[in-house]
């Protein structure tokens, strides 16, 4: 577009300028074209003149002699001189004023030459008028004036010096030159009029064109503006469409995922459907789920999905074998950051560790987003596409939200499953505990009575053997009962601060004896603080039980590793177990290289009476007992196993910062101590009351027996001696608890010492399972010797005090 055209279409000044431009442009075109035409015409005329000379007057004669006619030279030389300059100017400087003036002069001189060469033929004189007409092509009146001047000057000069050559007379009047010039002027006048008219028409055309251009520019401007508006509207519509499409996709994904999660009975079954659902909607080709193993601090493969037509078998198989540490690879980075990540082309990304695999599978675009569980990351979901896909923040946010949604589902399902398992274990435990409690009292009576019989029978009596068998059977039954109580978490724990390293080290010799020589035992203690609050005997029992199971799993030998490490359980992991709190733990891992177990066995491992051993080889209470003890100790126990590769039991116990106490060594008196003090015995179980009363009486004590607290208080009031040295009472009794009774007795006899007994203590549960140091306790079932020792110990303490 011409510069002036860019101005406003309605600007009259701009239009005037444009008119002048167009007019000048057109005029210049005409002049240049005429220059071109005249240059060829003059060349032609020159050749014509030469030809004419050769034709009309090739030679001049003198008799029979001849020579070249001067006209030949005139045509060649003069014609050349006349022609060359105008032709040069027309070619070298077309359009210039001087050029057309030179052409005008040359053309008129050529007329003169041609007239001359033709012998002054009157017809040739028309060349002058023809030349003027041709020069009028320039549409420049000044050119015609110049040409006229040349003609007139020629006539004037020749008319003055050689009048006969012009007018045919020797003394022609000067006015004749005006006559000749008059005819020329006649033509030139009309030519100038024609030129002016033509110029006016050109100007008119220029004005029309300028107006047309102006109009066109206006239309174009309007079209441009409308086009821009349309483009803007179109762009807005496209943007809106894209946003709507994205919103639809987002809703579709959220709906799809929600539906899948609602309909799936478990997280495991939901995984492939989630991958397919998201992959189909967002056109991703491959999806992978990685779940966090917080104990090993790695991401483990969980699920993979691909579109049917995508040949990525190798990629899928390799992924199944992979794990990622925190911060390593795309899943590891997402795990570490908790933020979604998008890589346009994974094959070009240096941080993507599977670039070669992806390249082979033809995968390029990649995204990953976390499965947010609580405040942590429970897993990572990846998607890959065959084409390079630039990041889209909207989708990342959407997927991040979905990751949170899935995390909630995952968490809920895990908690539900775990709660269900816990409730099942709790129910079974309560049942077992209740039965065990009743059996415990019975066993205590049987053991006590059998001991009394054995004590009363004279040596050599044949009934002694029967009584001994009864005693042994009762002991075995009591052992089972204790295990059930342990599983039901209803046994009394003697909690103390233990250094688990010391406990493990102290067991080393015994464990070597247990496992045999074909098993390589390795024990690794933690370098740091390993104090926990637990019952040392019970913890030893847990270790022995698991070790014995490991030994059974390695009949042909193997490696057994016991390792203690300090571990931190984050909230994400702890939140999956209702009883577990986040924090510092001491982990005891017991790993064997035995037969291992499948998932079905592993799921039921801690159930009571579940065993894979043959009939008579196991009670099915060992690991159940371990589970109860660890749970009752505020810890967590879990098993990880792969068939054929071995099993690892991991026991987490809360780490405590207090230093351990050194307990005084137990003194085992070689003989049953005796006494004469007064003891108030309160036991609701008649057989047990009878056994304990008989035992104490045999040891010399004065025994007041009561079946409950009311009876006991009645006896206390009726006490003739005025004092009671020891109250030996069951904790859980109808009408009045042991604690309430002891308080009332204390009000009557402040010096009376108290010894509690119970198969389990619900009041201890009220006291958070801890045994108050001010309270003396004898756990049922107890032996007579244990009772004698305990009673004497308490009464002696009284005397010392």
């Amino acid at each position: 577009m011409n510069p002036s055209q860019s101005k406003s279409a309605s600007d009259p000044v701009a239009i005037s300028v444009r008119v002048a431009e167009l007019f000048n442009e057109q005029q210049q075109n005409i002049i240049r074209h005429t220059d071109w035409l005249m240059s060829w015409l003059m060349i032609f005329q020159w050749f014509f003149a030469v030809g004419l000379a050769f034709w009309l007057s090739p030679k001049t004669w003198a008799g029979i002699n001849s020579q070249i006619h001067p006209h030949i030279w005139a045509a060649v030389i003069l014609g050349g001189i006349i022609t060359s300059l105008p032709v040069y100017m027309a070619r070298a400087h077309p359009g210039e004023t001087l050029t057309r003036q030179t052409v005008a002069v040359g053309q008129m001189l050529m007329s003169a030459l041609l007239i001359h060469l033709s012998g002054g033929r009157i017809e040739t004189h028309f060349h002058i008028f023809g030349s003027l007409a041709i020069l009028a092509f320039y549409r420049d009146w000044r050119v015609l004036i110049t040409a006229s001047i040349v003609v007139y000057t020629d006539h004037l000069i020749r008319g003055y010096y050689w009048p006969q050559s012009v007018y045919g007379v020797l003394n022609a009047s000067i006015w004749r030159s005006f006559e000749h010039a008059g005819w020329v002027l006649f033509e030139v006048t009309f030519l100038i009029i024609a030129i002016r008219k033509s110029s006016s028409e050109m100007l008119l055309v220029a004005e029309r064109q300028a107006n047309l251009e102006s109009l066109k520019e206006g239309i174009e401007q309007t079209v441009t503006e409308r086009t821009a508006e349309l483009a803007k509207t179109n762009s807005a519509l496209l943007t809106e469409n894209v946003q709507r499409k994205k919103a639809e996709q987002k809703l579709s994904i959220e709906y799809s995922v929600s539906r899948i999660l609602a309909e799936s009975p478990s997280w495991k079954e939901a995984q492939p459907q989630i991958l397919k659902g998201i992959g189909d909607i967002l056109n991703w080709d491959v999806g992978v789920i990685w779940m966090a193993d917080h104990r090993d601090a790695i991401l483990r493969f969980a699920e993979i999905w691909s579109q049917l037509e995508v040949p990525v078998e190798s990629f899928k198989e390799k992924n199944k074998e992979m794990t990622f540490a925190r911060g390593i690879g795309l899943p590891g980075k997402v795990w570490a950051s908790g933020e979604p990540a998008w890589i346009a082309d994974v094959t070009e990304d240096v941080g993507f560790t599977r670039a070669t695999l992806a390249k082979k599978a033809g995968l390029h675009g990649g995204i990953a987003f976390p499965i947010l569980v609580g405040n942590g990351v429970g897993g990572v979901i990846e998607f890959f596409s065959r084409e390079v896909r630039p990041p889209e923040e909207d989708f990342l946010r959407t997927l991040s939200n979905i990751g949170g949604q899935m995390g909630q589902f995952f968490e809920r399902k895990f908690v539900e499953e775990h709660l269900f398992q816990s409730q099942k274990m709790e129910t079974v435990g309560k049942l077992a505990g209740g039965i065990a409690h009743e059996f415990n009292s019975i066993m205590t009576a049987i053991i006590g009575q059998s001991e009394l019989i054995l004590g009363d029978l004279p040596s050599g009596n044949p009934l002694a053997e029967n009584a001994t068998e009864i005693h042994k059977a009762a002991e075995r039954a009591a052992t089972l009962t204790r295990q059930l109580l342990a599983y039901g978490r209803k046994q009394m724990l003697r909690l103390e601060i233990l250094d688990l390293n010391t406990v493990l080290t102290g067991m080393e010799t015994m464990l070597h004896h247990l496992i045999g020589r074909n098993i390589d035992l390795r024990m690794i203690t933690s370098a740091g603080f390993a104090n926990v609050k637990a019952d040392a005997g019970q913890i030893e029992q847990v270790i022995i039980n698991i070790v014995m199971n490991a030994v059974d799993a390695m009949p042909n030998g193997g490696k057994l590793t016991l390792e203690i490490v300090n571990a931190t359980l984050d909230s994400a992991y702890a939140s999956r177990f209702p009883e577990l709190k986040a924090g510092e733990y001491i982990m005891l891992a017991i790993t064997d290289t035995g037969a291992g177990m499948n998932e079905e066995v592993r799921a039921r491992l801690f159930e009571p009476f579940f065993t894979t051993k043959g009939v008579g080889k196991g009670t099915g209470l060992g690991l159940a007992t371990c589970h109860g003890i660890v749970k009752q100790s505020g810890g967590q126990i879990a098993a990880y196993s792969e068939p054929g590769r071995g099993t690892t039991f991991k026991i987490y116990l809360p780490q405590v910062q207090q230093p351990k106490k050194t307990l005084p060594p137990r003194i085992n008196a070689p003989e049953l101590p005796r006494g004469v003090e007064t003891i108030l015995l309160v036991e609701d179980d008649p057989s047990l009351r009878e056994m304990a009363g008989s035992m104490l009486k045999r040891l010399g004590y004065s025994v007041l027996s009561a079946a409950n607290g009311v009876e006991a208080l009645t006896l206390a009031h009726q006490q003739s001696t005025g004092h009671i040295d020891l109250l030996f009472t069951d904790v859980v009794m109808p009408h009045m608890s042991g604690k309430e009774l002891s308080d009332r007795v204390h009000s009557l006899f402040p010096q009376t010492k108290i010894l509690y007994t119970s198969a389990y203590t619900e009041n201890a549960i009220v006291h958070q399972g801890a045994l108050n140091h001010d309270v003396e306790f004898l756990r049922k079932p107890f032996t007579p010797s244990a009772l004698a020792q305990k009673v004497r110990e308490i009464l002696n303490a009284k005397k010392t005090n």
Binding site: L56, I64, G119, G120, I122, W162, Q164
Partner: protein
């Protein structure tokens, strides 16, 4: 150079004041008789023939005209019968003859092509000279006007004009003739 060439008149010999009898051409007793001597190849003579044509046209039959074309001895007729010959022959009322070896030219004193002599019916010389304004240049000229005036009985003081044309004979020939 061109102007000099074109304005240089040719040589003129001594023309007889009375018609010479006993030649191949005869004096017309009823009207004036015009003789033009011409070189058959002289380009300048074309203008003279054109002027002769106009002159005879203006004379309206009052002039009997001869055009005598020079033919060197021993040269064929074709040397003489050029387009000028045909042009001259085409002019109404003009008799064209060959002047072999300048026989008549010498007697009438003609040395330059285009040389014209006009005799009255009594054989008295009325005019001699050229009828073009310059060499090979047609157009109004004094000689033409003078011949027309003589033929039409108008008064004119011009009885002689310069002749513009090629020499009828070369220098050697002229020398030999003298």
């Amino acid at each position: 150079m061109i102007l000099k060439y074109e304005n240089a008149s040719g040589a003129v010999g001594t023309a007889p004041e009375h018609w010479i009898s006993g030649t191949q051409i005869a004096l017309d007793r009823d009207r004036d008789t015009l003789i033009m001597f011409a070189h058959p190849k002289c380009p300048c003579t074309r203008a003279s023939l054109e002027e002769l044509n106009r002159l005879l046209a203006h004379g309206n039959g009052r002039i009997a005209a001869y055009v005598l074309f020079f033919r060197p001895r021993g040269y064929p007729d074709s040397w003489t019968r050029t387009d000028l010959w045909r042009s001259a022959a085409a002019i109404p009322g003009v008799k064209v003859e060959a002047d072999v070896d300048d026989a008549l030219s010498r007697r009438f004193g003609a040395e330059t092509s285009g040389y014209v002599l006009l005799y009255d019916p009594q054989g008295q010389l009325l005019f001699r000279g050229g009828i073009t304004g310059s060499r090979g240049h047609a157009g109004d000229n004094v000689g033409e006007s003078a011949v027309i005036s003589q033929a039409t009985g108008q008064k004119t003081s011009v009885t002689q004009t310069p002749v513009y044309g090629c020499p009828l004979m070369n220098q050697c020939q002229q020398g030999a003739s003298r």
